[in-house]
């Protein structure tokens, strides 16, 4: 049964990333860092539920195998299908966004995953951005994670166009080419304050937005 579930998860993962390729022909631009299998934390802008699927798809296979998205438990556990996709297919680190309801600290969950050898995909805005602004203000999770595990590269990734492929509330995606730009890695300075670091991380991500 376990083998069957693992197999079904593999096949579903392949089907989802094939579909993502068909719709978006994703193009990865490695501008500030090379696609080598080092353990990293990728942080990206969040405009669509497809964001982490696309980032996951754009990673070369050896990197993809070791990379886990950090996703909202309150979204991914609402139906058995979502739970299967979130847990088994993408092996997501599911965190609870509601402080009053959660039993585990999200930063601890993320550092545990890093300590187990995984890379992470996180969306520091904490929710999908459907405003006109390029980015919503970052939550503090990225800073606390960087403080807790200062040795890891924090890689900014700008995902372009996916909000046009699948605007919030639409059901059928429009095929358009999406570009993912991977920037130079960041580390938190020993004396750096939370606000200064989050501002620097925001700027690093925004700097990748310019079309190339």
């Amino acid at each position: 049964m376990t083998m069957l579930r693992t197999f079904a998860a593999r096949v579903t993962g392949l089907a989802i990333s094939t579909f993502a390729r068909f719709i978006t022909a994703p193009r990865a631009l490695w501008q500030g860092i090379e696609p080598v299998p080092h353990q990293r934390v990728y942080f990206a802008n969040h405009t669509s539920n497809g964001d982490f699927v696309l980032l996951w798809t754009a990673l070369p296979t050896p990197l993809r195998r070791q990379t886990r998205p950090v996703a909202a438990l309150d979204y991914w556990l609402t139906s058995p299908l979502r739970a299967f996709i979130g847990r088994e297919v993408f092996n997501a680190v599911l965190i609870d966004r509601r402080p009053e309801a959660r039993s585990e600290d999200p930063v601890t969950q993320m550092t545990t995953a890093l300590d187990q050898g995984s890379s992470l995909i996180i969306f520091p805005e904490g929710q999908r951005n459907s405003s006109d602004a390029d980015l919503l203000p970052f939550k503090s999770g990225l800073y606390h994670l960087a403080k807790a595990r200062p040795g890891f590269d924090l890689v900014p990734v700008w995902i372009a166009n996916l909000n046009r492929v699948m605007p919030k509330g639409e059901v059928i995606p429009v095929p358009l080419i999406c570009t993912l730009t991977f920037g130079a890695p960041l580390h938190v300075g020993p004396e750096e304050t939370k606000d200064a670091f989050l501002a620097r991380a925001t700027q690093a991500l925004l700097a990748l937005k310019a079309p190339t």
């Binding site: 022909a25 605007p167 639409e170 059928i172 429009v174 095929p175 358009l176 080419i177 079309p211």
Partner: protein, 314 residues
């Protein structure tokens, strides 16, 4: 679908590619042993991509009409995806864009596959042209409305309508040429692409005077004249596999190589305006599908209609 003439043409193209691959490897060994000369590396990437494109085309020819129609439907899909990535649209256009990909594209190729000439020759210029803006208008956003609907219509005309005239050649009925229409497609693509390659080669060898300096630094008068004339000469020499006499073949070749050149020029102007170098990234060394197909897309409808007007009974 296969005929001895098609096999000859494919064998000829295969020989050219073998030669090109050998020359590419020799140049790499001499000039770019560490893979650090971008021109040589690009040349080799282009040659490798040509192998893939020729093999796909040959497989489609072997699979017959459905194969060729399906191949060009897929090319239209990829081209449309590249084109609409760069056009102006907003959330109000979501359903009209979905319709472009999942309704208009399959319908156009379905009309083609069922040989409904009266429909596929006007479906996009009339029905899609009139009805698609209605979908956008009903969503109520008027910002840039004319720009949005015009650019979408342009994308449909280029990527679906014009491109579908390549497989449409299969449905012409030319007395004495029955069962060999696939040759018309192979001939059109061969002459137009050969002209592109030869324009590139002549331009690299003796190109001095730019045709349109604001548009493209690589298009020169020397390349244009040398490329179109030498491709026309080679195309004329192959008249025996077409329904044309040598003089007619020369005229047709000149027509399609010039249209191909115009296609490259117009599509470059669009790329320049949008500040990009290539339409896409899926064909290594060449860029996107539109970068490779622009000349064929411009030549195909003219080639189709002239052939139909003069030689076909339908």
């Amino acid at each position: 679908m296969t005929s001895p003439h098609l096999l000859w043409l494919l064998a000829g193209v295969g020989t050219i590619l073998v030669l090109a691959s050998v020359i590419g490897e020799i140049l790499r060994a001499r000039l770019s042993p560490a893979g650090d000369n971008p021109v040589i590396e690009n040349l080799n990437a282009r040659i490798n991509a040509w192998w893939v494109m020729v093999i796909c085309l040959a497989l489609a020819f072997i699979a017959g009409k459905p194969g060729v129609v399906l191949l060009f439907a897929l090319c239209s899909f990829a081209a449309l995806r590249e084109f609409l990535t760069l056009t102006t649209h907003n959330r109000a256009d979501h359903w009209s864009l979905v319709a472009c990909f999942f309704l208009i594209l399959p319908l156009q190729y379905w009309f083609l596959a069922t040989d409904w000439y009266g429909m596929y020759s006007i479906f996009i210029p009339v029905y899609a042209f009139l009805l698609l803006p209605v979908v956008s208008a009903l969503r109520g956003s008027t910002k840039d409305f004319l720009i949005r609907v015009s650019e979408t219509q342009w994308a449909l005309m280029i990527c679906i309508y014009c491109a579908s005239h390549v497989p449409a050649l299969l449905y012409l009925q030319i007395p004495g040429f029955e069962g060999r229409n696939v040759i018309l497609i192979a001939y059109l693509i061969f002459v137009v692409q050969l002209s592109d390659v030869l324009q590139y080669v002549w331009g690299k060898l003796i190109g001095r005077t730019k045709v349109a300096p604001n548009l493209s630094p690589s298009k020169t008068w020397e390349g244009l004249i040398g490329g179109t004339l030498s491709a026309t000469a080679i195309g004329t020499a192959l008249y025996w596999m077409t329904p044309f006499t040598p003089l007619e073949a020369a005229g047709m070749c000149l027509l399609i190589t010039l249209m191909g050149f115009f296609g490259g020029l117009v599509m470059s102007a669009i790329k320049r305006d949008r500040g990009i170098k290539d339409w896409g990234h899926l064909i290594a060394g060449h860029g996107g599908f539109l970068d490779r197909l622009d000349s064929v897309i411009f030549a195909a409808p003219i080639f189709f209609h002239v052939t139909r007007w003069v030689w076909s009974t339908t």
